[in-house]
């Protein structure tokens, strides 16, 4: 591991230890936050007892579907907008404003369109995640150096092979930024919607524990989410770093 990695581990360990201490000494009431060790124990119980496996599967499946959909659709939409400068000039200013509106306000609308349950939740998450993918696609396609297009023409390549063999790999590092964001937002979108609206999934399980003041269970589940997010992010980071190292110009 790199030096930064070790320092990071140390910082996190220190933060966790501080929280543990604060809880154990009663500075933070256990009715609000439980010690990290108790969270870990609770997580072990949750996983061992298997009572939330169904929720975990539902949530992760929703996240995965939402992430894949927003990445794929985001790239397509981004590519189309990019090819069409007039539309782009019109749409781009709207993109950043978009995050101000809580998407789950539209849940009733989505229920009409997608029915209740995971589909509507996935739709909310896609709505949240797709914008960062579109933006990243635009940036990525912008950054393809003109000279690569020229080179492709010198090799007598057609539009399709040009897009596939030059455009896509050349834009990939930027697309990956979008991928990372899209995954993060897919997580936020799914869990938060489940928390507020749904009757299933990890978000719902947390909300349920929250409403029943079952802090042990709640924090156990939250720890699980943090761990999953960290693992996914670390994996994406590793891929990203390899891409960056290779594709940096």
């Amino acid at each position: 591991m790199t030096r930064e990695g070790w320092i990071r581990l140390l910082v996190i360990a220190a933060a966790v230890a501080a929280l543990e201490l604060a809880c154990r000494l009663g500075w933070v009431p256990v009715t609000v936050v439980i010690p990290p060790s108790a969270m870990a124990a609770s997580l072990v119980d949750i996983l061992a007892s298997g009572k939330h496996w169904a929720d975990i599967v539902v949530s992760l499946r929703s996240v995965a579907i939402a992430a894949v959909l927003s990445i794929g659709l985001g790239f397509l939409v981004g590519a189309v907008i990019h090819a069409w400068p007039l539309v782009r000039g019109a749409v781009e200013p709207l993109l950043a404003s978009y995050y101000a509106v809580p998407t789950f306000m539209f849940y009733p609308v989505f229920i009409i369109l997608f029915g209740v349950g995971p589909a509507a939740i996935v739709a909310i998450a896609v709505l949240l995640a797709i914008v960062s993918m579109i933006s990243a696609t635009l940036v990525g396609l912008d950054r393809i150096p003109l000279v690569l297009r020229k080179t492709a023409r010198m090799m007598h390549m057609g539009p399709a092979s040009r897009a596939l063999l030059i455009g896509l790999p050349a834009a990939l590092p930027h697309l990956f930024t979008g991928v990372k964001l899209a995954v993060a937002y897919a997580f936020i979108g799914v869990i938060a919607s489940e928390f507020i609206l749904s009757g299933a999934g990890m978000g719902y399980a947390i909300a349920y524990a929250y409403n029943n003041f079952d802090n042990r269970e709640m924090y156990g589940l939250m720890l699980l989410i943090i761990l999953v997010v960290t693992v996914v992010n670390t994996g994406l980071d590793a891929v990203d770093r390899r891409l960056q190292a290779r594709l940096r110009r």
């Binding site: 000279v147 010198m154 007598h156 050349a170 290779r246």
Partner: protein
């Protein structure tokens, strides 16, 4: 000994030219702004088959634009461009180009970069392997066949691009500042390699460069362009024989040649400087 323009005057050209530009101009119209940029010409130029032609000129005078026209990447606003007797429309077969900017594909290894064009063209794999291997060795990239461009210096990346163009065995090779990423000294050494390659393949070469000594050492003829819109204000035959290399810089006529080129460009550069 000074070389006056009279002594190195344009050699009358009788053979059928390999590439020919007649009255070529190029104007960029800027939408919305109204003011057009007359970037190039009118240019008349005949490239003889197998000749090594260098172009020098102030920055922004239209050298890269000229190359784009010959490569079929840009159509002249007026005038005609021909390659091997046929008008240039689209990129002609048999023409290869190395651009001013780094055009290596960062997602491919050196070998895959060099083989890229051949694979597109559907050349037989064994033949690809043979040619790529040769080109990589030729360009001094042997130890880096599996490296990616990010692991190479700017100069080495340019060599990858040159190799990628050479393996296609073009009959006309267009080079736009291919050694821009190198220091002056290393440039001259790379020039030696280029001369060797040129002799071996017998291709016609058009080389754009900023460095007058490079132009003077490498070319059969050196075209001197004016500030924008670039036209040829002089075309100087160097009179070197084909077996030359960088040691030519200590030839007494070399200093006179560069001095002459410099003198022709001084006025143009001053113009350019005034304009900003």
């Amino acid at each position: 000994m000074s070389v006056s323009p009279a002594e190195v005057a344009v050699v009358p050209d009788t053979a059928m030219p390999h590439a020919r530009l007649v009255g070529v101009t190029r104007v960029f119209s800027r939408r919305g702004r109204g003011d057009d940029v007359h970037a190039l010409g009118p240019i008349d130029l005949d490239l003889k088959r197998g000749e090594f032609f260098s172009v020098v000129g102030p920055s922004g005078c239209g050298k890269s634009t000229l190359l784009d026209v010959l490569a079929g990447l840009a159509t002249p606003t007026s005038g005609t461009a021909e390659f091997e007797g046929r008008p240039i429309a689209g990129v002609p077969a048999g023409v290869g180009a190395v651009f001013q900017e780094d055009a290596s594909f960062p997602w491919l290894s050196v070998t895959d970069n060099v083989a890229f064009g051949l694979r597109r063209a559907g050349v037989d794999p064994a033949e690809i392997a043979r040619r790529v291997d040769y080109a990589i060795g030729f360009m001094g990239l042997r130890g880096f066949a599996d490296a990616y461009p990010a692991q190479l210096s700017g100069g080495m990346r340019q060599r990858v691009c040159i190799a990628r163009t050479l393996v296609m065995q073009p009959r006309l090779i267009l080079l736009d500042e291919p050694f821009g990423a190198l220091d002056a000294q290393t440039r001259l050494l790379m020039g030696d390699e280029l001369l060797r390659m040129w002799r071996e393949t017998g291709a016609t070469v058009l080389l754009i460069t900023h460095a007058l000594d490079e132009a003077a050492m490498l070319a059969d003829r050196v075209g001197v362009m004016s500030a924008r819109p670039g036209v040829f204000i002089d075309i100087v035959a160097t009179g070197w024989d084909a077996e030359r290399d960088s040691r030519i810089v200590s030839h007494p006529r070399f200093g006179d040649l560069t001095g002459h080129l410099w003198e022709r460009l001084r006025v143009e550069s001053l113009k350019h400087l005034r304009e900003g």
